[in-house]
């Protein structure tokens, strides 16, 4: 028996309300670890042979809430949400921070597998082995903050009534969807703690399609026993000590980047990426800090960084808005990308999107896309239900966000996400609108551009990632380096926050894994076998696609056209991504990960990894 795991998963069939436990063999856990890796394995085993036919928003899709052996041990606990993605038709290991994963492991489960579809809104309540599906009719259409308040109250009362002798019950942990998820908006998130979200992948829509409003967990046991707790304690210290030396990282989190990534590295989306440079000092971190941060340090389980900050607008037009930092991605996509450079307006929009259950990156991207189409007179005011979508007009963007969440009017098309909206509007207007869609394989690109060459992503980071535009899972060489997707797969499969691993020697995470599980694992072994195996599964499912969309590497392993336009402003004016460099790098990358010239995993690669069944299915697209 491998240590560090609870040893069982909960399986809920929402079609018939049946709840059971399932187990994975040691060999599966050893190879696929947990989180993103295990999700790929589960999805492949259960849906792989009919993958193209599976509708991500239909009852046959799975919704997975998974932890990893490092959840709760490695400082900074997270939870991984997965399934077939309604954005990419592949799979994404979408992680969010919070207490959920730790509570679940303390309840005795490594994960929850949700199948089927309920005919009425429900939520799942888990208190150790006391598990039930409960009515969520009264929660349906409630926004994020209202949902958390109602469920905290109801479930604490439940605990108090059922276990009156315990004392005062700490609140359980809650994952939930807002109205956007309920309405199957493809840019909908799975949320926790008001402001945390699993955004990439669009799993809020999957949860909504299953009519699962929330999952509530309270676990009272210890974390599954680690193989060497003394070593674990030592490694926790190593990670924390490293973080404690990084004062400004802790003090500002990524909140300093809203100004810096524009002003310093010219890689921030400004007005739908028409520019990547700005020097708007009104958007400096000190403005957020001095005016809006009620807490300088806000964090989740075991986190030494506490990079989140608690923002609250107490007066004026935007009074009542509450969110975290906002972190850089939210600053950028719901700030400069929409022509907004005011901290209050930014916090207001982020808080609104939290409440609606919309992803700030995906929705900020599609709103920027719509605003550019308006700027170019492709979308008229009447196309936009009378809205004049001007850059910097926060109230109008707020109205648009609500329309998207409720799929009203133009919102119904934009709710499909940038790629699908570009295709749909393009057909209506008989124009190719993909040059304005800054995305990769249905997933909007994170707020770090490649044109200036001064930020961390590389020229193939998004084009070749198995998770499309996901800026937390970027492709690059060398395969065992910091910019490699294979290393990101480890974070998402061990399921912990990689923000706490910055500056920690790359091998420490593997030592951590060994201390918890008792299984020896080196970086070399990870990269050459296990991670590569997970990558092939994700790549195979991505390329097989879905009923509405398929990707061919030749057409779609590319950067968005905008990334080939020269930067129009700033210190790196004129710089751009070189297409030939991309093609050369891509060829080297394909070779390194064992894909053929067309970008499809090769038979010999798959056979060597023991993935003969994947090879068989991929014959269909070779």
């Amino acid at each position: 028996m491998i240590q560090g795991y609870a040893g069982k998963h909960l399986e809920i069939d929402l079609s018939n309300g049946k709840i059971r436990e399932s187990e994975f063999g040691d060999d599966v856990l050893r190879d696929y670890v947990g989180g993103r890796g295990l999700a790929a394995k589960i999805l492949w085993d259960r849906l792989g042979r009919k993958w193209e036919k599976v509708d991500p928003l239909g009852p046959e899709n799975l919704l997975l809430f998974l932890t990893g052996p490092l959840t709760g041990y490695f400082p900074g606990g997270r939870t991984c949400v997965s399934g077939k993605s309604p954005q990419s038709n592949g799979t994404v290991g979408s992680t969010l921070s919070g207490e959920f994963g730790v509570e679940l492991r303390c309840a005795g489960y490594d994960g929850i597998i949700v199948t089927g579809q309920s005919d009425k809104p429900v939520y799942l309540f888990v208190k150790d082995s006391d598990i039930e599906l409960r009515d969520a009719e009264y929660l349906w259409s409630k926004d994020g903050k209202q949902t958390v308040a109602a469920l905290t109250k109801e479930c604490r009362n439940l605990l108090k009534t059922r276990y009156p002798k315990f004392g005062e019950w700490k609140e359980p942990s809650i994952l939930y969807v807002g109205p956007a998820g309920e309405n199957k908006v493809r840019t909908a998130v799975v949320s926790s703690k008001w402001a945390h979200a699993a955004g990439y992948g669009g799993y809020g829509a999957v949860m909504g399609s299953k009519r699962l409003k929330a999952v509530v967990v309270r676990g009272t046991g210890p974390l599954p026993e680690a193989a060497d707790i003394k070593k674990v304690k030592r490694l926790i210290n190593t990670v924390c000590t490293n973080v404690y030396e990084n004062e400004l990282w802790r003090r500002w989190g990524t909140g300093s980047a809203g100004y810096e990534v524009g002003a310093k590295t010219s890689s921030e989306p400004v007005r739908n990426w028409q520019e990547e440079w700005h020097d708007e000092k009104s958007f400096g971190v000190d403005k957020f800090e001095n005016r809006l941060w009620m807490k300088q340090y806000w964090g989740d389980f075991g986190c030494p960084t506490t990079c989140l900050k608690l923002s609250c607008v107490k007066d004026g037009k935007y009074k009542g808005a509450i969110t975290d930092n906002p972190d850089y991605e939210m600053q950028a996509y719901l700030g400069p990308n929409l022509g907004i450079f005011s901290p209050e307006e930014n916090v207001f929009l982020v808080s609104l999107l939290d409440d609606l259950g919309l992803c700030g990156i995906q929705t900020g991207n599609v709103m920027g896309f719509a605003a550019e189409l308006h700027q170019r007179r492709v979308l008229t005011c009447s196309d936009l239900d009378g809205l004049e979508l001007k850059w910097g007009d926060t109230q109008t963007f707020a109205t648009l966000a609500k329309k998207i969440a409720h799929r009203e009017g133009i919102g119904d098309i934009l709710a499909e996400g940038t790629y699908r909206a570009a295709v749909k509007i393009g057909k209506m207007k008989k124009k190719n609108l993909l040059p304005y869609a800054v995305q990769s394989k249905g997933i909007s690109i994170g707020a770090h551009g490649t044109r200036s060459g001064k930020d961390y992503p590389e020229i193939i980071s998004y084009a070749c990632s198995v998770q499309g535009g996901d800026h937390t899972s970027t492709a690059g060489l060398p395969l065992d380096g910091g910019g490699s997707e294979l290393m990101e797969i480890f974070n998402d499969s061990g399921v912990y926050c990689n923000f706490n691993s910055f500056g920690v020697p790359r091998n420490t995470r593997f030592e951590f894994y060994t201390a918890v599980t008792g299984i020896k694992l080196t970086r070399r072994e990870w990269v050459r076998t296990k991670a590569l195996k997970i990558l092939q599964l994700q790549r195979a499912m991505l390329l097989l696609g879905g009923p509405d969309l398929k990707w061919t590497p030749k057409t779609h392993d590319v950067n968005p056209p905008r990334f080939y336009e020269p930067l129009p402003s700033g210190p790196y004016k004129g710089k751009t991504t070189d297409k030939q460099d991309v093609e050369q790098y891509k060829r080297r990358y394909y070779k390194a990960v064992g894909w053929d010239r067309n970008g499809i995993p090769e038979q010999k690669t798959l056979n060597k990894l023991g993935l003969e069944d994947v090879d068989e299915v991929l014959e269909r697209i070779r």
Binding site: G167, W194, I229, F301
Partner: protein
């Protein structure tokens, strides 16, 4: 010569709590050799996001919990002033929870005994981690003649107070 222990108290500045729960981790590692939040003697409540705070024994001047125990399972440490639980004697009746003005003690999740902060024999682990990370919500101070019992408040009441400070009237909606 070993320094004589003196009675201590843990001063707390609740509104600065980040909610990182490192105190729960440190406490349970020290007492149970496991990461076990529900067995921790200190609990971070988050009844409303953003209003996290640690909830743990304040060592009231008159120790109502100790006086309420029908089997003398609770006593006061002469060295540190902490409440000590005799796990073998405790019958898990919960009378001490009702006696505590803040309903701070709670049952051990697996064993039939109550859990109360013992100040780690004078070297509280929660304080150590909170200060290492510079959050400084907790600080050990010498115990003097003060109204410590005031600090034994119920989680819902503390949440309400913190909401007033952090969110102002905006917070009303979420309480």
């Amino acid at each position: 010569m070993k320094k004589k222990k003196e009675p201590i108290w843990i001063a707390r500045e609740l509104s600065k709590c980040s909610g990182c729960r490192k105190c729960e981790i440190a406490c349970s590692l020290y007492h149970e050799n496991r990461i076990w939040p529900t067995a921790s003697r200190i609990t971070i409540f988050m009844l409303v996001p953003g209003l996290e705070f640690p909830h743990f024994c304040v060592q009231c001047e008159d120790y109502p919990c100790v006086n309420s125990c029908p089997v003398n399972a609770l006593s006061v440490s002469k060295e540190t002033s902490a409440v000590l639980v005799d796990g073998k004697a405790c019958i898990a009746c919960g009378k001490c929870i009702d006696a505590c003005p803040g309903r701070i003690p709670h049952m051990h999740p697996k064993e039939k005994r109550i859990v109360i902060c013992d100040l780690c024999n004078g070297n509280p682990q929660c304080v150590k981690v909170c200060r290492e990370g510079n959050w400084n919500v907790l600080k050990t101070v010498p115990r003097r003649e003060r109204a410590y019992k005031l600090y034994a408040r119920k989680p819902d009441e503390i949440t309400r107070d913190l909401s007033t400070k952090i969110y102002g009237e905006i917070g009303e909606e979420y309480l």
